[in-house]
Amino acid sequence: MRSLGRGLATGSLLILLVAGFVMGNARTSYATDYPEVEEDCHIYFIDIFCNWQHRHHNYPAVPSGYSQIVNRFGQPCNSDATANYMTWRAWDNGHRYPLYFHRKLGGDTSSNLDWDVKGHIRHGAWDSNGDGTAEHGERRKHIKSGIYTYACRYVQGTSKWSTHAWGIAIDVSSAYEPYGETTCNVVTRQSGVPDAFENHNWYWGKAFADCMHFQYAVDY
């Protein structure tokens, strides 16, 4: 009887482990399925099912200025600018934003945006409350409504294409971070969101009073 119980327990544990392994691997085989992994994490409350760890795979060099951006990412609004797709759910209203971005920054080509940056924000430990306790997924609470990536458009009132026209820029929490404000409301240094981007080659727009904006380029 005791051996039967031990056998059942061992068997159940094995099945759980195998299921976890299969589910985890099945989800991680396509970068665009990543948001669903995040959903499942919330259902099971067990980190092993998330199976996320950063990869830092094949990041393009960061271009400086217009000519280097064109050399690295092509002309504005070209088809590569929308080659990757992911969704990102805003913390405040639950809206899932569809996001297109450049081929070289995600999907099968690179692990940069959809896997590493987003993964750090979704799962990485961070003490955004400032209480000395780092908790997993704290940064995600600062990704609020108004999340945008690709758009074929110009910087307002100028002769410059916006970095969004290459799919190499992302705005987060834009409903709370109007352009021109030098004090950030949601995307603060303490929120940990800037670190998650900056540690993966993204440049934060706070330097030019654009707290919501991150771009994979400098001097532009």
Partner: protein, 332 residues
């Protein structure tokens, strides 16, 4: 003996060639210098170069880099914003606004400004300079008195529009009481890129009025932007527009004009992101954006009779300068 004869033959050929060259230069008509625009000011690498009919090309020594410039219609007076470059997509400089004479480069007025300056324009008589400060405020500087004051702001002209800016101000030329035509961002994408622009007329004393009535398409990603108003002697304002309705680049941009009475006319197609600098009736000077390097080439397009065209450069174009950051021309 033979050698001496050959030497004479050689000398004879040289003399004959020189004679032919001299005669051809005397007989051929002189190559006419470009008469319009008479004065051209350009910015390259942050430095200012002015070309006048009398003085040739002169590089003007200025403190820091030049961020914006303009010329009076007669080309005698220039205004520049010069100083330290400001980081960011909207750019500009912090430093000084300087008014100078183009013939001897005498600086006749200077104004220090702490906020980023992105655009300057000077009135036809050279007595007023209007400029955009902090991206969203339009100020006017009385050159003779040496005092500046605010005229209006994006907050007043586009209330409630997050991140709205003012751009491309230009003095109206025909009115006794000078007014400034200025671009206003009336809708934005997430508060940082323009989705809809329009022109406003801002008198130095009085209430601003809307000059154009552009509307963008109904789609979430649609946009209709406007650039580079240039004012003419008859009260009309020429500007360029581009639009997109499917989140792809516009196939073409268009130059249009709006009269003092508000009537609009389409002039013809222009390359994307073309800035009209001036029109003299038979020619139009414009900066054309070069997608290979992000700089501009200065074109002078010969206009067909009637002043409208169906194809860019259909009556001929001349490229006056290449790879400049900004330019202004004497438009009279």
């Amino acid at each position: 003996m033979r050698i001496a004869r050959l030497r004479h033959l050689w000398l004879g050929c040289v003399v004959a060639l020189l004679a032919v060259l001299l005669m051809s230069s005397l007989m051929s008509p002189a190559v006419p210098a470009a008469t319009w625009p008479s004065t051209v000011a350009t910015v390259s690498g942050g430095g200012l170069t002015i070309s006048t009919p009398e003085g040739g090309r002169t590089q003007v020594p200025l403190p820091g880099k030049v961020g914006a410039l303009d010329l009076t219609p007669d080309g005698r007076t220039a205004v520049v914003a010069a100083g330290s470059g400001v980081e960011g997509p909207l750019g500009g400089v912090t430093g000084e606004i300087i008014v100078l004479q183009t013939d001897d480069l005498t600086k006749t007025a200077r104004l220090s400004e702490a906020g980023p300056i992105t655009h300057v324009t000077i009135s036809s008589d050279g007595r007023h300079v209007a400029y955009v400060k902090d991206y969203s405020e339009l100020w006017v500087f009385d050159v003779e008195v040496g005092v500046s004051r605010p005229l209006t702001s994006a907050r007043l002209l586009a209330p409630g529009v997050l991140g709205s800016v003012l751009f491309d101000p230009v003095f109206e030329r025909s009115t006794a009481e000078p007014s400034v035509i200025v671009g206003v961002v009336e809708k934005t994408f997430s508060g940082e890129d323009d989705k809809l622009d329009n022109l406003w007329r801002v008198p130095l004393t009085g209430t601003p009025t809307k000059l154009t009535s552009l509307v963008e398409g109904p789609g979430e990603e649609d946009w209709q932007v406007l650039r580079s108003p240039a004012t003419l002697g008859d009260g009309a304002t020429v500007y360029t527009t581009g639009s997109s309705t499917s989140n792809v680049p516009p196939e073409s941009w268009t130059a249009s004009s709006v009269g003092a009475d508000g009537t609009s006319e389409t002039l013809g197609p222009v390359p994307p992101m073309t800035y009209v600098l001036g029109i003299d009736g038979s020619k139009m000077a414009a900066l054309v954006w070069d997608k290979t390097n992000g700089l501009f080439d200065l074109y002078v397009q010969t206009l067909p009779p009637g002043g409208t065209w169906t194809e860019w450069c259909e009556n001929g174009c001349e490229v006056l300068r290449e790879d400049v950051q900004a330019a202004a021309v004497a438009s009279s």
